[in-house]
Each structure stands twice: as structure tokens, then as C-alpha cells.
Amino acid sequence: MKCKTLHKDLIFYLDNELPIEKRKEIERHLEMCADCRNFYSFLQAEMQIIGKEKNPEPSPFFFTRLSARIDERPDFRQQSLWNRVAQPAFFSLILIAGIYGGLRFGSHASSGAIHQTSSSSVQLLNDFESEPIESFLLDQ
């Protein structure tokens, strides 16, 4: 095995992801090659850092700070209740009021229109009566 080949597979050797034959080959090479052995130690130490950095100690004030941020924005607290109950109820009320108002206005407007038509027709008749052109001509 060449050093270059070993360098490609060393990380997988560390993670125990190589077949047994390949592992043995690497181990034989490491016994013979000091430079590869040094690099192996270097890589191993680097990868062990991951284990040391895992699970940092949580901050004791994390939740306190988080609660404060929620309290700073009251919409966060009210949003769920508003979204679930008040908002649909509010818009439903507006819709019902709109429909009711529309119906009331419609019925009022239609009765008003009938009244207006009848009065205008009466007015026309009255106009005809108030301006008797034929009688005016006859008078002359």
C-alpha cells in the first residue's frame, strides 16, 4: 500500500468503516511508515475533538431569557388564542352583520323603489292634468 492510498482511507479506518482486509493492510503500512503513523495520530487527535465538543453545558438562564423575549412581544402570547378563537369569531360576526345589513338594505331599497315609481307615475299623470295643452289651444 502506498502512503497516498492510505491517506485517502485513514478517516474511514478511524470510523471503523472499512472491510477487515483493508484494515489489516492499513495496520501493516502504519507499522512500517513513521510519517503515516504521525499523520494517523494527528488525524485521530483532531477527530477526538468532536467528542470533547459534544453536549456543551447549557446556560442556566436560557429559559429565563427566552421567557423575557416572549414577554417583550405580547403578540407571541396572545397570538395562539387570537388565532384559534377570537379571529374566526370576529370575522364571522363581520360576515353575518354584512349579510344581515345587506338583506335589510335590499328590502328597504326595493320597497322604496316601488314607492318612488308609483309617485313618479302619479306625478306624470298630474303633469298631464296640470298642463292641459288641448284646452289651452281651444281657449285661444
Binding site: 494527528f42 488525524l43 468532536i50 470533547k52
Partner: protein, 193 residues
């Protein structure tokens, strides 16, 4: 209290359910953010943003995925956005420094490093080197690798978090390891620590 009860409680605005959620997942969420942003204060701020988002949008949770999957997804996305914004700001800052003749931050860091009398490789130096190598990985490789290595998540859950196939996760992690090894070898060869 199981996941569905927890979510139901949060949806109803129950403070105790939310606290249980934070207590259960705080460490995981902070760790996920920390591995990507490498700064404890930023990671905690991001983790808080994650929980605020959960609190605000709990009503949208349909229970198709695990709660932890949802949390990890928000945490990784927020952390990556944070990195992108930081890079953008860094670009404009360096432009400003170029025009105003300001001192480069990187040179300050390297100067400080030279002042150290002890030249043995410390855990801190190893950690910095590893973080730099991880940061050089393409975004998807970085996320898949960190979720697998730091959070010890199985490939299947990583696939759900990243919304990609299982085969893609395998390939991403394989390539991430190869790239990482190449970078670390370069560093070892040049004795950069």
C-alpha cells in the same frame, strides 16, 4: 408527556408544555447551532430564535415528522442563514477596510497567536483547525457531517431533516469525510498548527 401532547399544549399556549420542550431540546438545539456557527453567544441566540419560531408556529406542526426533526431543521437553516449574513457583512467590512485603510482582523488574530509562548498543539488550536476545515466543506456536506458526528443522528433522520434521500446523505457524509481528511492532511504537511 409525549410529543403530540407537548405540541398540543404549546398550541393551546400552555407555558409548562413550552418549558418542557425547551428543557428537553435546549442542549441539542444549542449544540447544533454551535457546531455550525462556532460561537457560544451566537449559538444561544439562534437557539432562542428556534424556540420562539416553534412557539409562534406550533399551530402549523402537522405531526408528519418527529418534533426533533422539525427542531433540527429550523436550527440548521437559521445557523446557515446566520453564517451567510455574517459572510456578507464581512465582505462589506473588508471592502470598507480596504478603502479606509483599517487593520485586517485576520492579521490581528495571527499576531495574537504568535505571542503564545507555548508552541504545543493545544485542544483549542486543534478545535480551531477542525472548525476551519469543517467550514470549508460545502454547505450540505457540512450539515450532514455535523448532524451525524456531533449529534450522532442516524442517516435516516438526517435525510428527513435535510429533505433528501438516504443515498444522498450517505454520499454527502462520505464526501465530507474525504474533503475533511484532505484538508487536514494539507495542514499536517504544511505544519499549520
Amino acid at each position: 408527556m409525549d410529543e403530540s401532547e407537548l405540541i398540543k399544549g404549546i398550541q393551546q399556549g400552555d407555558h409548562r408544555s413550552f418549558q418542557t420542550l425547551v428543557d428537553t431540546y435546549q442542549r441539542k438545539v444549542v449544540n447544533t447551532c454551535l457546531v455550525i456557527v462556532h460561537n457560544t453567544a451566537d449559538a444561544e441566540d439562534l437557539a432562542q430564535d428556534v424556540f420562539l419560531e416553534i412557539f409562534r408556529t406550533a399551530g402549523n406542526f402537522r405531526g408528519e415528522a418527529r418534533l426533533s426533526t422539525w427542531l433540527y431543521r429550523i436550527a440548521t437553516n437559521r445557523s446557515l442563514n446566520h453564517i451567510r449574513n455574517k459572510k456578507r457583512k464581512g465582505f462589506f467590512q473588508s471592502l470598507e477596510e480596504t478603502f479606509t485603510g483599517g487593520k485586517n482582523r485576520n492579521s490581528e488574530i495571527s499576531e495574537n497567536g504568535d505571542d503564545q509562548p507555548d508552541h504545543r498543539i493545544t485542544d483549542r488550536q486543534r478545535s480551531d483547525l477542525l472548525h476551519r476545515a469543517i467550514d470549508h466543506l460545502p454547505e450540505k456536506q457540512r450539515v450532514a457531517f455535523t448532524l451525524n458526528k456531533y449529534e450522532e443522528l442516524p442517516y435516516q433522520q438526517i435525510a428527513e431533516i435535510m429533505e433528501i434521500s438516504l443515498a444522498s446523505v450517505e454520499s454527502l457524509i462520505h464526501r465530507a469525510k474525504k474533503n475533511l481528511q484532505e484538508q487536514l492532511y494539507e495542514c499536517y504537511r504544511k505544519k499549520c498548527v
